[in-house]
């Protein structure tokens, strides 16, 4: 099966990054991943530069992307101010997010969820006017750091309201890496039944090591679109072992083993991941940066005798 991937390292991966990453390096990150065969990127976010200083170069990153005619470029556009910044840049899609849980919505968007959805109207209006696709996104869809469990009915309701605004694609964010497979199964079943016309994209984090199990459940439930970040960046750099998004390297490796097509070149992705490690000055969480693709052979004469 063909699986559609969106690379989010230059947005989600870097938004909390303590290590400074230059605009040129972000552009090179996108370029390296694009040369490895990934076509769709969530490039940056037009949030307030005060709120997320690491993404204050949003315009320059978008303008700097090379070979952009061959790529599909998305950016997060949280409000009309962000939309006005994004408008002249010729992006292919704007991503409009809300939080499924009220507390997260208040903390993140300064408004309760339904009010935050209503506030997206003028943004979508402008996107329509400019012929730009508007994509919905639901943060904390699988759990909230403040409230814990988020009922599936609530997520279906939020997705309904987003779909009513005209979104035909909605991203489901496992913001804190709390999703587990049977939850993914039930969530996609409920959403696909309620909104069969909408395509759902799974945005998974690997905080508790469950991301690939969730991908497996997502695929079995009919999901064909996933987001990932090169190196698995996105975790808090001050929490050792904490990881961010499922890594592009590990996801592509996994999907290929499972017999799916991604269009990506795993070796080139791993090379790009190693480059990103030198940029950020630390080992990154992607497993394929610290092991080898399945099938890599070892010379038996180097073996230490011990069973496993």
């Amino acid at each position: 099966m063909r699986v559609a991937l969106t690379e989010v390292a230059s947005r989600d991966g870097l938004q909390n990054e303590a290590h400074p990453v230059s605009t040129e390096q972000k552009i090179e990150l996108i370029d390296r991943v694009a040369r490895a065969g990934i076509r769709r990127f969530e490039v940056t976010s037009f949030v307030s530069p005060r709120a997320v200083p690491a993404l204050s170069d949003a315009e320059d990153v978008v303008r700097g992307v090379r070979d952009r005619d061959r790529l599909v470029l998305e950016a997060l556009v949280p409000n009309l101010r962000g939309a006005e910044r994004a408008a002249p840049l010729g992006l292919d899609a704007w991503v409009c997010f809300v939080s499924a849980s009220e507390t997260h919505s208040l903390a993140n968007s300064n408004a309760p969820t339904y009010e935050a959805i209503e506030r997206l109207r003028p943004v979508i209006g402008l996107a329509d006017q400019l012929g730009i696709e508007a994509i919905g996104s639901i943060a904390t869809a699988f759990g909230c750091p403040f409230e814990g469990d988020v009922p599936i009915g609530r997520v279906v309701d939020v997705a309904h309201r987003q779909a009513d605004l005209g979104f035909r694609t909605i991203k489901l964010g496992d913001t804190i890496g709390s999703a587990h497979p049977s939850q993914v199964t039930r969530m996609l079943a409920a959403l696909n039944q309620a909104l069969p016309q909408v395509e759902f994209v799974l945005h998974l984090h690997d905080t508790r090591g469950m991301s690939l199990a969730n991908v497996l459940a997502g695929l079995a439930a009919g999901g064909t679109a996933f987001e990932s970040s090169l190196g698995g960046v996105g975790g808090c750099p001050f929490a050792p072992g904490a990881t961010g998004n499922v890594s592009t390297e590990d996801l592509v490796h996994f999907l290929h083993l499972e017999g799916h097509e991604t269009g990506a070149d795993l070796a080139a992705l791993i090379e790009a991941g190693r480059w990103l490690e030198t940029v950020l000055g630390r080992p990154l969480p992607a497993r394929l940066l610290h092991s080898s693709p399945v099938g890599t052979l070892v010379d038996p004469t180097t073996m230490k005798r011990a069973v496993g």
Copy 2:
């Protein structure tokens, strides 16, 4: 569903450990995991102390295990010499392994696979005589570091020969962490069809982040028994980010989220994992040692405003 877990940290987890671990610490490791509710342990291995110096205290570890009447104690017994060492110790089960792949068998057991199986006869004879259960184990069942792919038919054949020797339980070792879910599905389907009287135990490594996805596939294929190691120890300490067995903490956390029962107390396992980190003097790969169980709530006032 009830899932049976075997803790292998004191054997597989420590056999390649560079950091010295005392006999007392191994006994305490087992004790801490036992107090967290795990009942079955692969305690140690009676391999040649020259081959695996880290396990040369095998007898003392077995003798030192506390509350052993409440526990089921297994140990690896590779040959008659090992069996003679293990015989007086009153173990509940001896684990007799072979490698599915010829090159690994030659490197590890100094004999081709079928010859290695034949060599187990006197070991099983002694176990029978002593009323000790003999458990089979197949290393490189999902891939060989020297040969790569191991055909499922080969594993079925090896399992058949082990079953013919009288084993009623056989462990399937994903020695190099190369298994992927659809392979686990096909493997268990083939084995369950060929040998319906045998119980198969999945021994998974997390080298490429696929272990919990493989657990999911294993459960779906009817598997109810898994092995894991506290902290996820077992990786090469000289390869940053490399991980060993699926960690007991992450596995128990995952199984509980998926609605299964293990009898284990996750908080106590995490505490034991933190203790093992202090013993080994480094952060261990278990994700739950660097994140929190799903459902742990954060105070919203501590939130940094940024979306994920």
